[in-house]
């Protein structure tokens, strides 16, 4: 996702201001060991380098270089399939976090991997086989070999 440097630079400069302002609220004990000191240095760095990035881009634009002020429309944004594939990556992480404690790790994993495989152009039967096999192996590895208590939901036993 390409964003104009002016945006990202100003965004980091704003983050720097936020970091500095938040640091003002930290309690300051006597002596040189202030919890405000390091955040202020980092905050100032964000402001300085963020403004340099934005300024550099702005200067290039003023000298006639082709510098966009709006994000360009990229190929993947025009393809609904690729867009869905991208959105589904963070979405599946969030869905696992929300649903696994309620429904159990294995069933949620199988559904997420199945849908994900379909989005990556896998045929439905192959996607189902991959989902079941991979989820079984990975879940058993974590639960039985690594002894990690993955959420089982309403189902008893390590397979859920």
């Amino acid at each position: 996702m390409r964003l104009p440097d002016i945006w990202t630079g100003l965004g980091f400069a704003l983050l720097g201001i936020f970091v500095i302002l938040q640091a003002q609220g930290f309690p300051e004990p006597a002596g040189a060991a202030s919890p405000r000191l390091f955040p202020r240095i980092i905050g100032c760095g964000f402001v300085l380098f963020g403004l340099m990035i934005a300024g550099r881009s702005l200067a290039a634009r003023m000298q006639g270089a082709e510098v966009r002020l709006l994000p360009p429309v990229e190929d993947w944004m025009r393809s609904s399939k690729r867009l869905t594939r991208i959105v589904f990556v963070p979405l599946s992480i969030v869905l696992y976090g929300l649903l696994a404690p309620v429904l159990g790790s294995l069933p949620v994993s199988v559904v997420l991997v199945f849908v994900s495989a379909l989005l990556w152009d896998e045929r439905p039967v192959a996607a189902a086989i991959v989902a079941v096999c991979v989820c079984l192996v990975v879940t058993l590895f974590f639960m039985e070999v690594m002894r990690v208590p993955l959420p089982t939901g309403p189902f008893p036993g390590s397979l859920f």
Binding site: F26, A33, W76, S109, W120
Partner: protein, 509 residues
């Protein structure tokens, strides 16, 4: 001697050997799969290492990274797609030899020199690390502060094309380390009242998010390519390799030494080592004209360098606790999570662990021959694997791996957020490596900075008063100030030389 025997016992136990074998197999799989990097392989291993002993954890990481760097050559030769960036430097040679029908020579040379390069790098690690550790014992918080800052500065300089953006990425990593309880006073910072944030941002979630989830997102944005079935290679790759390596012994030794040296420098990893070793090998070669047309000497020079760089990068990581690249950043992170702070004291408090790491390096490099051979034979099937099977499985490993380390849902939110953030940052030329290095070293920098400030009572000149600290401080400042100063000087001299022309032109008109 007792220490060495104890180290052998630590490595040659069933569980550690089993972990090394599994780590190797995983490294071969990831390295041989185009689009997946050695760093991603190591990041995905981190949750598993969380449950292992320190030796087993390091064994898994070392064997996985060594194997994946070598395995990157397999798709390079078979498909003309480097499996990892470290193989890109000499991919043309591998491909040209394949086209000449000499696939066996291409893969055989790359496999054998990877082993030799790795072993030479290990020998230098064994010889240099204890000597440097003795010097490092003299270091105080001032030296450690400068050393960590110098490491971060160099890493920022070489990461990506844009220094400014690399610096912002580093600042982002340093900012993330400030979230949680303050290292000096124990007061909460940037937690916004959240209990989850008081423990800080999970290093594992950030590493997996930055190196694996962001990689999946990057692959998801491109059209899917159905991989072709490559040519077949087998045991014939070993035929005549003794003579072949002997013929190119100079290139192998030179490549290994260059690789180790570059690997030991902060910020420069296996890929940079391979490119530089390739260029130097060509410069000194009597067959320089053959480079790019399938010259085995070029493979010998460069493929030995990338595996040697891996060993070299452990020198600063082990001796000073300062990671040189993303892989050693993960290693330092894993050791810290296990309660071991890498640095000179490790050589005194845990000499058996240090020796065990040396043994693991030797073992991992030797295992490249049998396991690499299997990977080359099976690579044909692996390279035909569809993305629809691969990426959903990796995503599942990311999710369960992150969740498994702390059983915390909050780590999953971090994983998703960091994955998307790094994907966007990298698309805009903000590199990910300084962010992770900043996160790993942020606490070291702040802790040593604050301790030094307390000792010096806020006097910044005290940071330059000790001789080694002074030298390190000046070098660090030069790293930051010299490039912009040179640019400014060049501009001024350009303007100075431009003026007479302008005046002359004006005179003519």
């Amino acid at each position: 001697m007792d220490v060495l025997i104890s180290a052998f016992h630590m490595v040659f136990s069933l569980d550690v050997l089993g972990v090394i074998l599994l780590g190797s197999a995983f490294g071969l799989f990831v390295g041989a799969t185009p689009g997946l990097s050695a760093t991603m392989a190591v990041a995905l291993l981190v949750p598993v290492t969380f449950f292992l002993s320190p030796v087993a954890a390091i064994g898994a990481i070392v064997s996985c990274s060594a194997m994946s760097i070598f395995a990157g050559d397999i798709p390079g030769a078979l498909l003309r797609i480097p499996g990892t960036p470290a193989s890109a430097a000499y991919m043309r040679e591998l491909d040209a030899l394949n086209r000449m029908g000499r696939l066996d020579l291409a893969l055989g040379t790359s496999m054998m020199v990877a082993v030799i390069g790795g072993l030479i790098g290990t020998a230098i690690l064994v010889l240099a690390a204890p000597q440097l550790a003795e010097v490092a014992l003299l270091f105080s918080t001032y030296e450690y502060f400068w050393l960590a800052l110098l490491g971060l500065s160099c890493a920022t300089l070489v990461a990506g094309r844009d220094r400014l953006k690399g610096t912002v990425s580093l600042l982002l990593g340093l900012f993330l380390t400030m979230i949680g309880l303050d290292v000096t006073t124990g007061l909460p910072r940037y937690t916004f009242g959240s209990i989850d944030l008081q423990a800080g941002v999970s290093l594992i979630a950030v590493m997996i998010g930055a190196f694996a989830v962001a990689e999946i997102l990057r692959s998801a944005q491109y059209p899917l390519i159905t991989p072709q079935k490559p040519a077949r290679a087998g045991l014939s790759i070993l035929r005549g390799q003794g003579r072949n390596i002997w013929t190119h012994k100079g290139a192998v030794v030179r490549g290994s030494l260059i690789g180790t040296l570059i690997g030991a420098l902060p910020g420069a990893g296996a890929d940079i080592a391979a490119w530089i070793a390739y260029a130097i090998s060509q410069k000194f070669s009597k067959k320089a004209d053959n480079y790019g047309k399938g010259e085995p000497e070029a493979i010998a020079g460069a493929a030995s360098a990338n595996n040697a760089a891996l060993s070299g990068s452990y020198v600063p990581a082990l001796v000073f606790g300062i990671p040189g690249d993303s892989i050693t950043a993960i290693v330092v992170g894993v050791l810290v999570l296990k309660g071991i702070q890498p640095g000179p004291m490790v050589f005194i408090t845990s000499p058996d662990l240090v020796n065990a790491i040396y043994i693991v390096f030797v073992l991992a490099n030797l295992l490249i021959i049998p396991l690499g051979l299997l990977a080359i034979i099976g690579g044909r099937q692996l390279l035909g694997m569809r993305m629809g099977k691969l990426y959903p499985s990796i995503l599942l490993l990311c999710i369960l791996g992150t969740f498994a380390t702390n059983n915390a849902l909050f780590d999953l939110w971090t994983l998703a957020a960091v994955g998307v953030l790094v994907w966007i940052l990298e698309a805009n030329d903000y590199p990910a490596a300084p962010l992770v290095l900043g996160l790993v070293l942020g606490r070291v920098v702040e802790e040593n900075f604050m301790s030094s400030m307390i000792k010096a009572d806020g006097n910044l000149l005290a940071f330059f008063e000790r001789p080694i600290a002074g030298v390190l401080g000046v070098i660090t400042l030069l790293v930051w100030l010299a490039p912009p100063a040179l640019v400014l000087l060049r501009r001024l001299s350009g303007r100075g030389s431009a003026n007479p022309n302008t005046i002359a032109n004006e005179g003519k008109s």
